[in-house]
């Protein structure tokens, strides 16, 4: 199972008047989670884009348990749930410094050609990388 842990400090900009992180900012934390997971595998999402592969999200789910607060140092645990040449699904689990579960989420991404904006298969080297580490 491919799994990665990264950390993010909650910014003032990310809070809302309820005093917590705005519910729409967690997708950005999830982006950080999968970006750093890919980097830990030895590649980057940036490289994928430079090779002509976009990865748009086609599905997002979040279950909010407890809100993150300003200046919290959040732990993001990202897992590759499954992948095919057509799509990849990540799950995310966020904890605060007291190890309290903040939320769990899931995103599915496809591979897309930026010129045609049509779905494509993942590059062979990318699938190989995922298989090796799985």
């Amino acid at each position: 199972m491919i799994e990665h842990i990264t950390k993010v400090r909650v910014r003032y900009a990310e809070t809302d008047k309820m005093g917590f992180v705005y519910y729409g900012n967690y997708p950005t934390y999830y982006e950080i989670g999968r970006t750093e997971l890919l980097r830990s595998l030895g590649s980057t999402y940036r490289k994928l884009e430079e090779e002509g592969v976009l990865m748009p999200v086609i599905n997002l789910q979040i279950q909010y348990k407890k809100p993150a607060q300003y200046d919290d140092f959040i732990t993001i645990k990202t897992v590759v749930k499954d992948f095919t040449p057509a799509r990849i699904t990540f799950t995310y689990t966020l904890f605060n410094e007291m190890d309290e579960l903040l939320n769990t989420g899931e995103t599915t991404l496809i591979f897309m050609n930026p010129s045609t904006m049509k779905p494509i298969r993942a590059p062979q080297w990318f699938l190989k990388l995922l298989k090796e580490k799985n």
Copy 2:
């Protein structure tokens, strides 16, 4: 069925380098959808907060079909899917100017006391309002 239509113009700030609206910005559009639905019922979320009722989101789901583009004038259709004294679920359907489906989503919100941060029942007047219009 309580349903409301509102419009939003895509801002440059909301796009990302893929050239479309960032996937994490749609929750903000959904917020606009439910805010304007409540306003159309004769109340506002602002009033609820002033009366000591917060409404945090506990669940979010989005199915992305087609990306919104910069300067698109998006139609947000918001529906109250169901509600109890403990929670309310909204669904959202977004279209662009060519009437193409952009995405569908759903959020469930609970009612919370800002002092205790504990779940509470929705105010009677609020439930009455929803029942009348349903």
Copy 3:
């Protein structure tokens, strides 16, 4: 003098835990101001980009007087302060519904070729448009 008035409703997403609009969100309101000013002249920033002209901001200044609050219906007054074939400067004045001054700001933008990322002169038709309305 080219001047345009537009309105924007403050979103929950734009507030921070201080209870007001986060100071970094006003540049987005300014973007709305100049976008709608251009639209009112009969063109759009979208069209400029489609013709191969980017307009990056090279200077931003904001004097904050009073914070905007959630759900406020803000008035954005945008003025073309001056323009040359190389750059254009807009000023912004924001008011709330009680006509209280929220902040004043200024941005200078240049014209840029997206392929070379070098500064270019504004298109003739664009300068003509500005001169006619001035």
Copy 4:
């Protein structure tokens, strides 16, 4: 002179369709700069708020030289330019990994009582901290 260096990785969410960081996202990077500077002094902005001191920004200036790109690992150099019991001014200088200057900026913040929303003097311990390190 009080000075602090911190780093931030550019998120996809922070880019816009021009392919670079949106001009309105740098104020958030500046927030990170001054937050980490305060933490390096042995205090935090969070503690200030817990003691009943808000620090709203009253002035912002940015000179944009070169845009930051997705996944860039940005260096934020923050300096306390000057401070009085009534206000504090920070300057910011951002560089990318090739040590290219991205932008320079300045913010002035005042101290405010969250109950009265009136300006107040900075807490003695906070001024002492700044003086010691200056």
